[in-house]
């Protein structure tokens, strides 16, 4: 999946959890989920589950630990999709 398409899909998933509208509007690859978007860290597991459903992949505990910003999320989703 193309990166731009993937980012758009990701944005739809994370929007309900964000607490900083401005940071969300200006979202880039380096945007951090907790530091920039002010997402409650407890909600990160909910985002992971939503990503699993949306992309039909399974994310392991190690993937979750790394998935702290947009760039990492894209990389992990892409690698999972490629290995399917």
């Amino acid at each position: 999946m193309e990166k731009t398409v993937l980012i758009e899909k990701l944005k739809v998933i994370i929007e309900p959890y964000i607490q900083d509208e401005d940071a969300f509007k200006n979202l880039t690859e380096t945007t951090d989920f907790v530091k920039d978007l002010k997402i409650n860290s407890a909600n990160l597991v909910d985002i992971i589950l939503d990503i699993e459903d949306a992309f039909d992949i399974r994310l392991e505990n190690e993937d979750m630990e790394q998935m702290l910003n947009v760039k990492a999320a894209i990389e992990i989703v892409q690698s999972k999709q490629n290995s399917k």
Partner: protein
């Protein structure tokens, strides 16, 4: 007297009325909130009627964010938060305080169990070996203190924040605990109350014990019959009640509306001795609780104008009236007026004490006796102790100065609190 405690805000989510205005109207009219539920019939319940407050999706959104409502399935927390926020706003306290928190205000909000339907969802997923897919919402909705956690976050409370649990005496106990904390000078304000989930997973255990009525599935509004000779068990209910308790000085400084004063109270247990069991009260302990509550309130028993009983519509109502009569040393025409709020809302379990205390305080503030419905045929045991005119069956304006509220719970636990009309 140091640290007098008053009630400056009320909130209620009851089967017959959500919000103080609606509830007060239902109380005056004797409107029943008991309905037949097909789900209970489909599940083969003996008792297919119950009390469930009506909350629209639009109302939910006034109290919860879209994010909070994602995967939300805990009716007790829903009811508790609505009642708690309402009591807070009713007291004229700010709800737009997003930066600061208040170290002088705490919260004691009780429940019997939390989020049973959420827990059920989780158990199904877990047994399907999908524990990793539970998400973040199971713990906060199923922990007993979930309601306190949600409310304190919404309001920014920085004093003690906890949840008490003592079965059907929970709500009354929460009020007494909050009162004691203010009295001890440890907090200026305490938001207190209790909530209870609705539905088959909470009510099923009671249905199995055969303590709920099975005779009114076709006449739900007549089902809850406290003190009646034809009472045949309680009708399960649900909801929440909340009171904002405040140090009198603080209330006067804020120029707050004062509903009533909390004079004092007592909680105890009968130790499951002398007639007391897991499910039945030790009469001596009930009487001791009422007597101590009166002593702690600094009044005499003849000063009690009305009681709001536990009175559930089981075979124990007569024993309860006897306990009141012995504890107060009063009978016949000298017996205080009696309110059995459960006749209109059923037995709201852990929420009962809080909702019924709201009812008692409204009666003090507005000086009326609420009708007790479904007791045209008073039980002869009760009539031997109380003159029937002391059990109002219709609305009546009445000067009331002091109301005693008591609740009793499984585990042989008792709570009694006294409210006094406040005249500035």
């Amino acid at each position: 007297m140091k640290n007098r405690v008053v009630v400056t805000g009320l909130g209620v989510v009851a089967p017959n009325g959500v919000g103080i205005t609606n509830f007060s109207e239902a109380l005056k009219k004797g409107t029943s909130g008991i309905e037949f539920y097909q789900e209970l019939k489909d599940l083969n319940f003996s008792c297919q009627i119950g009390g469930i407050p009506k909350i629209s999706e639009a109302l939910k959104k006034q109290y919860f964010t879209d994010l909070q409502l994602r995967g939300f399935n805990s009716s007790g927390i829903l009811y508790g938060c609505i009642a708690g926020i309402d009591a807070w706003k009713d007291a004229g306290l700010p709800t737009d305080n997003f930066e600061h928190y208040d170290p002088e205000t705490g919260l004691i909000f009780g429940t019997g169990t939390s989020g049973v339907e959420k827990f059920r969802e989780a158990i199904y997923q877990l047994d399907d070996k999908q524990v990793r897919r539970l998400g973040s919402t199971v713990v906060v909705q199923t922990m007993a203190s979930g309601v306190s956690a949600y409310l304190s976050g919404m309001l920014g409370l920085g004093n003690q924040v906890t949840t008490n649990s003592s079965a059907c005496s929970t709500g009354t106990e929460a009020i007494i605990m909050g009162y004691e904390r203010i009295k001890a000078g440890k907090a200026k304000r305490m938001l207190v109350g209790s909530c209870s989930d609705h539905g088959p997973y909470v009510w099923g255990g009671f249905d199995a014990m055969r303590v709920c009525t099975y005779k009114h599935n076709d006449s739900p509004e007549q089902g809850s019959r406290p003190m009646s000779n034809s009472a045949s068990g309680f009708v399960p209910g649900s909801g929440a009640g909340a009171l904002l308790l405040e140090d009198l000085e603080s209330a006067l400084q804020r120029n707050a509306i004062i509903y009533a004063e909390v004079l004092g109270g007592d909680v105890n247990s009968g130790g499951q001795r002398n007639g007391g069991t897991l499910t039945a009260p030790n009469p001596e302990a009930v009487q001791r609780c009422i007597k101590n509550a009166i002593v702690n309130s600094g009044i005499k028993s003849h000063m009690v104008d009305a009681i709001n009983g536990h009175l559930t519509a089981t075979s124990k109502d007569g024993l309860e009236i006897e306990n009141w009569s012995r504890a107060l040393g009063r009978r016949g025409k000298d017996f205080p007026y009696v309110s059995a709020t459960k006749s209109t809302i059923g037995h709201c379990l852990a929420a009962a004490g809080a909702i019924e205390s709201v009812a008692a305080i409204l009666q003090l503030k507005e000086q009326f006796l609420a009708p007790n419905i479904n007791c045209e045929d008073l039980h002869p045991e009760i009539l031997m102790l109380v003159d029937s005119e002391k059990i109002p069956k219709s609305f009546q304006p009445q000067g009331l100065d002091i109301i005693a509220k008591a609740s009793f719970g499984f585990g042989d636990v008792n709570a009694c609190v006294l409210f006094k009309r406040f005249i500035a």
